[in-house]
């Protein structure tokens, strides 16, 4: 059984298909990320998964509870961090946390110690009695995460957990999420930061315009892209004509990468030794040889770029 299992999930707003029949699952103990640009359908998907939006079609099973019938059962086991903090402005940090706990049937005598622990954990203990509205953006986001954790959910949903806040808070949040995951909490998050997905997620789904275009571990996503290999050589002298070296290595594509550097691309893996010998033979010294690995960003741009092109001829594109 999966922590989260979604099949053919679709959401339509009138003519607009915000989520277009997506399929994915999240294993217990995993950090799963939805990576996509603005308007991709990330929030809409989360809203359907947590019960704030109704699906147009498809099936959702959260912690073994099928929607819509067992929604309330599922809601006991999930925590939600929305894209915008939605706590009570007038109430203090501590009051907000104990209030959230009470919504899960936890009496104050049990929730207060837990709330104080969380406030410590997120460095908010000093401001625990201040009104929420007086918090900075980063503090607000941290308290919102603490509020989502107050009832010890097994599955945590986060919608863009680090967008729009300072670097230090974002780093702390990422650290806490890692810790939480190591202690057994399954995490589903959305982000449009490629780096965040790379650092935090065990598996990632690229979502563009309501479609999941690729799912996999970071390594898997890279491999898909790595069928082509590139090596970059930096030499001691400026390069002249490339035709002789191209003739010597007809299986590869060779191009200038800079005044004294050249890039070699090949569909097979590039063997460095013959190149070193060749340079030695023609009297060029090699300063550096680098194998270029694609970043997740390259993969993302590549994959979604293609999809974006497709989108132009797609009827759904016309609605945007």
């Amino acid at each position: 059984m999966k922590a989260l299992h979604v099949q053919n999930l679709t959401k339509q707003f009138g003519d607009l298909t915000a989520v277009n029949g997506v399929n994915f699952f999240v294993e217990y103990g995993e950090v799963f990320g939805f990576l996509g640009p603005n308007g991709a359908g990330k929030t809409t998907t989360i809203n359907m998964l947590i019960g704030l939006a109704r699906m147009t079609a498809g099936t959702i099973s959260v912690m073994g509870h099928s929607y819509p019938d067992a929604l309330k059962m599922a809601q006991r086991e999930i925590g939600v961090v929305p894209d915008e903090s939605n706590l009570y402005d007038e109430m203090s940090g501590l009051e907000n946390l104990t209030f959230c706990a009470s919504l899960y049937g936890i009496p104050r005598k049990d929730s207060e110690p837990r709330a104080l622990d969380l406030l410590h954990q997120f460095d908010l203990h000093d401001v625990k009695d201040k009104a929420f509205k007086a918090y900075s953006k980063g503090m607000k986001r941290k308290l919102t995460i603490a509020a989502a954790l107050i009832h010890k959910p097994s599955l945590l949903f986060l919608d863009e957990p680090t967008s729009g806040i300072d670097v230090a808070s974002a780093r702390q949040i990422r650290y806490e999420l890692k810790e939480l995951n190591q202690n057994g909490t399954t995490i589903f998050l959305t982000t449009h930061y490629i780096e965040e997905a790379d650092r935090l997620c065990d598996r990632i789904a690229f979502i563009v315009a309501g479609d999941i275009v690729r799912t996999g571990t970071v390594t898997e996503l890279m491999q898909y892209h790595e069928s082509e290999q590139s090596v970059e050589f930096t030499l001691d002298q400026p390069l002249g004509d490339l035709s002789s070296i191209q003739e010597a290595f007809p299986q590869t594509a060779i191009e200038k990468a800079g005044e004294r550097s050249l890039r070699i691309r090949s569909v097979q893996s590039v063997d460095l030794l013959p190149f070193m010998r060749y340079f030695d033979h023609v009297g060029l010294q090699v300063y550096e040889a680098r194998i270029l690995r694609p970043s997740l960003e390259d993969v993302f741009v590549n994959v979604t770029g293609i999809e974006a092109e497709k989108m132009k001829n797609n009827q759904r594109g016309a609605h945007r």
Binding site: L52, A53, R76, N86, M91, F99, S102, L103, Y104, G105
Partner: protein, 244 residues
């Protein structure tokens, strides 16, 4: 899970955050006092304080309850805090009862103001207090749920306030509070019977002055029907319009 912890906590939070704030206290207490004094002190011998009491009680409850939901529901919806409540593992019915019980209590408290004043100013012996209490509670329920229905049907707080005025000012005249239904133009009377306060006020009159137009069982039945109807229409609206 103990859903009552959630229920009481929501009620307590609304009380602290909204109802027991100075502007609302003054609205809930000073306003009925002002109404009461205005009516009671000006009343001529022919119309006694006792005759006016049912109408003043009805009025206090109506105004005390309906406007509160614009804040506790519409405002929270707009600020998205309401989403947090919708995520709680409690049924929507229990949630909405928790969100409205503050207003209901507030309305009942508002009804106490003219009653206590009247007790000082005139002799209230012979009043059927049990029936008064039932009437007060039912008027508080229907008025609150009317406010709820309005609050979940609009997007902005000011719309909720405007709409509730749109309902409650005509109700002052159409529900027999100060103008007996029999004095209303014939074409308006069907409208009166579509408004829950008509039945509530008639119930109160019967308990306080003994005079009433309709059988009490009919009044009770209609009030219960309105309460249930408005409540379920409201939760249906939330499901349809807020859970998109």
């Amino acid at each position: 899970m103990n859903a009552w912890i959630a229920f009481l906590s929501i009620l307590k939070k609304d009380m602290q955050n909204y109802y027991l704030k100075p502007p609302n206290i003054s609205w809930g207490i000073l306003f009925p006092i002002a109404w009461t004094l205005m009516f009671f002190l000006r009343s001529e011998a022919a119309i006694t304080i006792r005759d006016l009491l049912p109408g003043v009680i009805s009025l206090s409850i109506l105004f005390g309850t309906t406007s509160m939901l614009a804040v506790t529901i519409t405002f929270e919806k707009k600020s998205r805090a309401f989403e947090r409540l919708l995520l709680a593992p409690i049924s929507l019915n229990l949630l909405m009862l928790a969100k409205t019980s503050g207003a209901i209590l507030f309305g009942i408290g508002g009804a106490a103001v003219p009653t206590i004043l009247a007790a000082f100013l005139t002799d209230l012996s012979g009043v059927a207090w049990g029936s008064v209490l039932i009437g007060v509670v039912l008027i508080a329920l229907t008025s609150t749920f009317l406010g709820l229905f309005i609050a979940v049907s609009v997007k902005e707080v000011f719309e909720a306030q405007t709409f509730s005025n749109f309902f409650r000012f005509p109700m002052v005249f159409l529900c027999g509070l100060f103008i007996p239904l029999t004095h209303l133009p014939l074409f308006l009377r069907p409208v009166s019977y579509l408004l829950p306060l008509t039945y509530g006020n008639d119930l109160l009159s019967s308990a306080i002055t003994g005079a009433h137009l309709l059988p009490n069982t009919l009044n009770l039945g209609m009030l219960l029907l309105f309460s249930l109807g408005l409540f379920f229409m409201s939760t249906r609206n939330i499901r349809r319009k807020w859970i998109l």
